[in-house]
């Protein structure tokens, strides 16, 4: 089975292509905005996907399963990812599977812990802006902390209550390093790959689903209600 997976919940755009006969050889392409640059989801996502397919001589119609990170994360980014996945599914015969971006973020560290027989939990943390974090925790292959949007101090308290040792990963773990370290979390160094959402992990999680999900049920996990702020009158075009 050929799986094309992507995630646009964080400022990065990550795309991976996985053939389940050689899952370890999955290829991934990423775009990370430079400091101060806007996320590149709109201009990068499909271009990276097409590039990845082209390097293996495949086309969009060769994809059997589309995997997309449902968030939580930036609203506009999520919508670009989910809209792209839904429309690709609509236009081909590929199945569609949505996965948790937080789970994809935790997966590499989780697998490493499992392989090493280590007994720490993995806390995936995404910077939710406005001083909050999106987070969820896994230990021994089980979800032990459900997806939440919390202020860092509250999240630290939840983690401390849960007990045990924790490895915290993600841009939110970096942003709220102090609070989380005080709660006993270990956090990899700033440059570590473990803080990035891997599209390969998105593909792997999607492979676990027994079948695809009905297209119209694949929607982002916003975890937050929309702000009821009215549109400012549209700008008058200038010419």
């Amino acid at each position: 089975m050929i799986v094309l997976g992507f995630d646009t919940a964080t400022p990065a755009t990550a795309v991976a292509l996985l053939d389940d006969t050689h899952p370890a050889a999955a290829a991934e392409l990423r775009h990370e905005p430079a400091a101060g640059e806007r996320p590149g989801h709109a201009s990068q996502l499909l271009a990276l996907a097409a590039q990845l397919l082209a390097t293996t001589g495949l086309r969009f119609t060769d994809v059997d399963r589309l995997a997309v990170g449902l968030g939580p994360g930036t609203f506009t980014g999520l919508r670009i990812g989910v809209a792209t996945a839904r429309a690709l599914a609509q236009s081909t015969s590929a199945e569609l599977v949505g996965v948790s971006t937080l789970h994809a973020l935790a997966l590499p560290a989780e697998s490493a812990a499992e392989r090493a027989g280590a007994d720490f939990g993995v806390l995936a943390v995404i910077d939710a802006r406005r001083g909050e974090a999106f987070a969820a925790g896994w230990r021994g292959g089980r979800a032990v902390l459900e997806q939440v949007a919390l202020a860092p101090a509250k999240l630290a308290r939840r983690v401390a209550e849960e007990g045990g040792s924790w490895l915290a990963v993600g841009d939110g773990a970096l942003r709220f390093r102090d609070d989380l370290e005080r709660a006993g979390c270990t956090i990899p160094t700033d440059g570590s790959e473990q803080h990035a959402v891997s599209a390969r992990a998105v593909c792997r999680l999607a492979l676990e689903a027994p079948q695809g999900t009905a297209r119209d049920l694949v929607v982002p996990d916003y975890l937050r209600p929309p702000d009821a702020v009215l549109a400012s009158p549209p700008k008058k075009p200038s010419s």
Binding site: A42, F60, Y222, P237
Partner: protein, 338 residues
């Protein structure tokens, strides 16, 4: 059979349509998000969330009504801007992915060019080669976000003769309606109330003295605000119909005067109108009294729709696969030249 499939998600309507390669309207689906009315305006984040949930189903519906499948589509078109950028991005991402999956070309369309191109659609009695109206003509576009007088000499562009310096005409209707305690969107409600009123009961400014062919609707709105305040709640309620009729009269006159001047200046004898305000009865009547040919697309082609985007796409340089994969939306200004 080669068909054009278009999407339009620039504001709060999720739209898809199918038009034939020679401009014949095959289907036009508009899913209006009533949810915004309770807020008294459009909430961008809510609009974007709904677009995402509705876009694919609206496309399916447009294809079904056109008795077609994606296999019959030869070109995908989408509104690239201007509009609410988060809303536009849903349509752009969807259109790009539908096209890319099939290696189809993509036509990015400017929303305003779309409104003008509504006149090129061939429908029923207007199914002649030129559609509802063929260039050259003067076009008045008046919606909630835009008020514009355009000179249309060709099928693939227009020049701006005048535009509003402040509020759009539809926005003025909406704000006036709110001052009179009417629900959003205010235009239709205000028109209804005005039916029982005297358009000459109150004198509201028409901004005649403005240079050129530009519009201004800030004055008429402020003057309604003062009138309502001076009358006090009881008298204002008692004269609501007169206030509505007089306010509407001022806006209609302002629009009609500029149209007359534009026709005179350009020497053109044909006028088309578009945008949500084109639904306004007194405006239509007033313009039909001008001694020129007036073309008004059916109501559902005046307000935001995707059929007009498909129509415009016939005259846009479509980008072949994979040239458009990096295409982004734009919120304001004229079409970004890729």
């Amino acid at each position: 059979m080669t068909l054009i499939l278009a999407l339009e998600t620039s504001c709060d309507d999720t739209c898809a349509a199918v038009v034939s390669a020679d401009g014949e309207l095959r289907s036009n689906v508009i899913s209006s998000q009533g949810v915004h009315d309770a807020f008294g305006g459009v909430v961008p984040e809510i609009a974007s969330r709904h677009h995402l949930e509705l876009a694919n189903a609206v496309v399916d519906d447009a294809l079904r009504r056109a008795d077609a499948t994606l296999d019959d589509v030869g070109l995908v078109a989408v509104t690239q801007g201007p509009g609410l950028v988060g809303a536009l991005l849903v349509g752009v991402a969807t259109a790009k992915a539908i096209a890319a999956a099939r290696g189809l070309p993509l036509a990015p369309v400017d929303h305003l060019q779309g409104h003008i191109a509504a006149n090129f659609l061939r429908i029923g009695a207007d199914s002649g080669a030129g559609g509802i109206m063929a260039p050259p003509f003067v076009c008045l576009l008046a919606s909630g976000g835009h008020t514009l007088l355009a000179r249309v000499e060709q099928y693939d562009g227009f020049s701006v003769l005048g535009r509003t310096l402040d509020d759009a005409a539809g926005e003025a209707f909406d704000k006036g309606a709110r001052l009179l305690g009417l629900p959003f969107p205010g235009g239709p409600a205000l028109e209804r109330l005005a039916r029982d009123g005297d358009p000459h009961a109150f004198a509201f400014p028409i901004a005649r003295n403005l240079d050129g062919l530009d519009f201004s609707f800030a004055g008429v709105k402020t003057s309604l605000l003062y009138r309502v305040r001076d009358l006090g709640p009881q008298d204002a309620a008692a004269h609501a119909a007169d206030l509505a009729a007089s306010f509407q009269h001022a806006i209609v006159e302002a629009l009609a005067l500029r149209c007359e001047q534009a026709l005179e200046q350009t020497g053109l004898r044909r006028l088309a109108i578009g945008g949500g305000v084109a639904a306004n009865g007194p405006l239509r009547t007033r313009l039909e009294q001008l001694a020129v040919t007036v073309g008004i697309p059916p109501r559902e082609l005046c307000t935001d729709n995707a059929a007009m985007i498909a129509s415009a796409a016939r005259f846009v340089d479509a980008q072949p696969f994979p040239a458009y994969l990096s295409l982004d939306a734009y919120a304001s200004g004229e079409r970004a030249l890729a």
